[in-house]
Amino acid sequence: MRGTLSIIIFLFLHLLLLWPGLLSAAGNLTQNSSRECAICHFRWMDQFVAGHGTPLTPLETKDVAGEEMMCLSCHDGSTEDSRRQIWMHDRHLTDMVPSKKVKIPKVFPLSEEGKMVCATCHSAHSVPTDTSIERTIFLRVSSHDSQMCEMCHTGQGAKNFQNHPVKMGKNPLPEEIFAAGGVPSDTNVNQLICESCHTAHGGLDKKNLIFAVSDSTLCSVCHPKKVDDTSLSVSAQKNHPLGVAIKDTLPEGEKIFTGPGKTIQCISCHQVHQLEIPAESDNTATRAVNKILRFAASDSSLCIVCHADKEYKGFAAGKQNHPLYKKYAPKTVGDRLLFAGEGQSLQCLTCHQIHEHRPGSKSLVAGKGPLCAACHPEKQQVAGSDHDLTITAPTIENRAGQSVNQSGVCGPCHIPHKGDGKYLWARQNKQSGKSLSSYCLDCHGKDGPAKKKMVGVNTHPVSVAVEGLPSLPLFESVQGTDSMECSTCHDPHLWSSTHKVKGQGKNIEGDATNSFLRKSSGRDSDLCKSCHSAKYHLEGTDHDLRVTAPKETNINNMTVAQSGLCGGCHVVHNATGQFLWGHPAGTEVSSPSDLCRSCHGKKQIAAEKQVGAYSHPVEVAVDVELGKTVLPLNRKEDGQAVIECHTCHDPHQWNSQIEGKGRGINEEGNEDSSFLRIANREKPLLCKQCHEEQTYIAGSDHDMRVTAPTSVNVKNQLPEDGSVCSPCHAIHNSTTERALWNAPLTQQGQDFMEKACYGCHQEKRAGKEKVVTSGSHPTQLYFGYKKSYKGILSTVRIQPEPIPLYSRAGIRADTGEISCPTCHDPHIWSGREKKTGPGTNSEGTLVDSFLRKGARSELCYVCHGKKTLMLYRFYHQRAEKKGILHDHLLNREP
């Protein structure tokens, strides 16, 4: 019994004490809530609760239930295979403190270290919040339409920020989205939600996207028209090129988002979430184009990041770009209103369309021609003209390598980017930066496509500073001055200023009424008049060939009616020489006066107005002192000032006293008209410019208007018909070379000067009251002088000039002889005072009577001493000659 009981008790104790352990050791389990919790809540293991670890693991003090390694311990395929979904690819970031960009609601707990862990979003204690368990299991809250995402990422989805649109959409999303793991919206399968593009687990990059964004794949799924096949050539693409390597010339520090190989991708320009550029604008267009861009496109700053070399930075020499940022009134091309930035400004997008443009169009919003025409309509008249290179030079290429057909009407000459200079010249300009005209000469030069229309050596000057030109445009020179250029006279875009229409579509020969001239230079020569209005006093004068030689033709074989008023004598380009001479010269032109002779010569159109054998000298250098004159001299390369016909004559103004055109008839001139620069008749102001001392004759006894108004010169002209000079001198067609003598000469007298003086000072002539009975000084010495007086006189100086002696020909010479003007200056009444005469016929004395200063006291006295007066009387006053000789013989003082 006792044994039996002992056995019973033993078995009871055995069962009581040992069986649980044995059962446990055998692995047979009963449900144990603490164990079920500790499967994840590792910290709750008994040993850790007791404060120590085990030989297999150290003490765990923190809650690791929601950490990655704990989740992996089941999701490694042993209970659920999440390797690909979670650990194979990028996933939502964990084990990090959330950035300040996100706000973590309390419903999403962070780890004890404040880090994101799996359990921040997931909890094994959650209950399904949706019908689809795959989407909601273990999530802490419902993610209906990705609302869970937006709870933390408050900026990315909200509509008041600049983000890719969500929660909207009418058209079905592409199936590729869902096939790749995109989640359809619970509300509307067509609308976009965060999880359309993002997936918390199994994304392809750090952004947890279902497709790669680094190569624009994701964007192209929904926006296939915005992304081209990168295997196509750039010219065949309809959108901004993608996949091309970004330039190495980006500004230092500029951050560009690029794809593999530093290639341009959608993300280079677009920032899908939380843009920093201003979202709001008063300008609808601006708001539209700035949408989800990294930088504003509305002010071109986005484009300039990569295309800085295309930015307008003001004009200077070298490569330039079309202006940007400038205010402009929005234009239309067809039905399309061109973009205008803030403040109605010109921007890159005004001309360029980044997406869905025509292939090969350089992303332009319209064809080059219409696009240029939108803002430059007046320039389009170049089409069909000789400057439309599709007609006149179809084979050339511009500096961008574009053919004429590729570049359009404007493109051969202008390119909007990297053009040369202010006018964005598209040609390879060898004279870049020199002047605007250099662009013209680039084509119109010997190697240019317009070499048949070169301007020649003698051409109208260009690139010269000009002031005040109201009716023609001037252009800023390199020096910053207003400069006259080819384009001052020519509008290269308009063939005919009178017919403001497109050209005729063929290469035609122009004339003075078209040829891209801003004004017609034919008929009324308006063009030349714009600058040379003073020259238009020519009109109606004898130099208006319409009046005097209407049939005469210039070197271009054009009559004045064809070439215009100026064209009779001048041609603007390819002239024969100086002054752009365009009249056939006949002989070689060596001086400006030759140009005059080309008409005023034998058998020429102005043969009736030749200057004769003896005429005022031209083509001779004059004293530098004469350079002070207001008259124009011909300055030669060696510095000499040379007198020419135009020194005295202004061929464009008939009468200097009368501004305006002539009377339209061929008329005879006088000393007030005849194209003289200064009226000379009343007062010899023209002659005075060079011969001032000679003009003191006015009002003296030698002024024929005073002493012999009825006398005539050899041309039978009265003194009143000309100037005070004309009774004695003729500028042209004189009878003598010496002194251009215009008065009668006599045979009396031993040299020319005496003959000239005696021409008047003889009976029945104007100077009949002052006849010299015996005027010639002996050429030999008298009264015992041993040597020639020439040697003596040559040492005598009458201030300020030496005593003039004259050759027989009347030419002043140191080796000459005493003649009338040795003692008399016929132009100055009193040698003591250089001034005009009193205007009355005066009786002379020993101190005036045209005697040179000191003539009596110094000149004669040198030889004759006290007998000077006596000898004078003897020689010049016949009545006294006898008495004087008597006294002399008696050795008495007279």
Partner: protein, 317 residues
């Protein structure tokens, strides 16, 4: 009197029982303690090779008769084969051939068996061939598709024994398909499973299955019936927190990896804890997420999932 007699009898019996109990307790305690995993024995190994760089989240490894190592790089749908020195030899499988496989074995004949979890079937690569044959694993009666996570030929090489993880069962199919037997179901009792994952077989044809959530190794007879448990829940030596891989070598030693604790423990076939894998100095060898293993008398191959590598350990005797 009767009362005293009975009391006396009871006290005497108690004394006897306590004496017997004490004696038995003294005798049984070491065994009980061993069974409860309180031993701290270590088995020293030396890391002799590390293969890394080409794999992503590998799960299992197998050895063939020539010493070649077959690593299952399941996320790449590949079997990567290396020689004994770690030199890559070739790969098997690939996208479209395998789909997220988890377990691998190599038969004595050189056939490569792959538990192709994603395609719910078993793939068998004949020796020297790259194109496998497939054996569909039948769905559970509840209709849930099979989730084969590891496999082994049956003792007679006529069946393929497979773990069906999602359906918490073990099944045997014929080499040409067809269910031979199926045991299990979700539960904690012997013959029931909670997430069986990896398996191996000893020379006698006993099947060793790791249960991840039940945290034990269930030993089945060759016909799939329950035989015994090895190990239990816990973090002491001989206990499991996240048991994953299992390998039985020719000595009958049972190696069980614990992916969270980062240890590999060794048991005998009766479930006695022999020790934990340590380094040459006897210090606990900490693996990072150890998963599938292969073991010989001298070598132990351990796949580390998170670090994407295979470690080859050599036993130090």
């Amino acid at each position: 009197m009767m009362v005293d007699r009975y009391l006396s009898l009871l006290v005497g019996s108690l004394r006897s029982s306590l004496l017997i109990f004490t004696i038995l307790g003294i005798c049984l305690a070491p065994g009980l303690l061993l069974a409860s995993g309180n031993s701290t024995g270590t088995v020293r190994y030396r890391k002799v090779l590390e293969i890394a760089g080409s794999m992503h989240l590998p799960t299992d490894v197998a050895l063939d008769a020539d010493g070649r190592m077959y690593v299952l790089d399941g996320t790449a749908d590949l079997v990567r084969v290396f020689d004994g020195l770690g030199t890559p030899l070739f790969t098997l499988g690939g996208q479209g051939i395998l789909d997220q496989p988890l377990g691998i074995d190599v038969s004595d004949a050189g056939e490569v068996l792959v538990a192709d979890s994603g395609s719910h079937r078993v793939a068998i690569f004949p020796p020297g061939e790259r194109v496998p044959g497939y054996i569909d694993i039948p769905a559970a009666t509840e209709g849930k598709v099979a989730d084969p996570t590891d496999l082994h030929y049956g003792p007679d090489n006529k069946t393929v024994i497979t773990v069906d993880n999602d359906n918490h069962r073990m099944i045997a199919v014929g080499r040409r398909g067809g269910l031979i037997w199926s045991h299990g179901g979700m539960g904690r009792n012997p013959g029931e499973f909670r997430f069986p994952f990896m398996m191996d077989m000893d020379r006698a044809g006993n099947i060793y299955v790791v249960e991840v959530i039940n945290t034990r190794v269930q030993v089945l007879n060759p016909d799939g019936t329950f035989k015994q448990f090895i190990g239990e829940w816990g973090i002491e030596p001989g206990q499991f927190f996240r048991p994953k891989g299992i390998a039985v070598n020719d000595l009958g030693e049972v190696f069980v990896s614990d992916s969270y604790l980062g240890v590999v423990q060794i048991f005998d076939q009766r479930g006695n804890f022999l020790g934990v894998v340590a380094d040459e100095d006897g210090k606990l060898f900490k693996f990072t997420t150890p998963m599938g293993m292969a073991a010989s008398e001298d070598r132990l191959l351990v796949v580390e999932m998170y670090t994407n590598r295979l470690l080859v350990m050599e036993r130090q005797r």
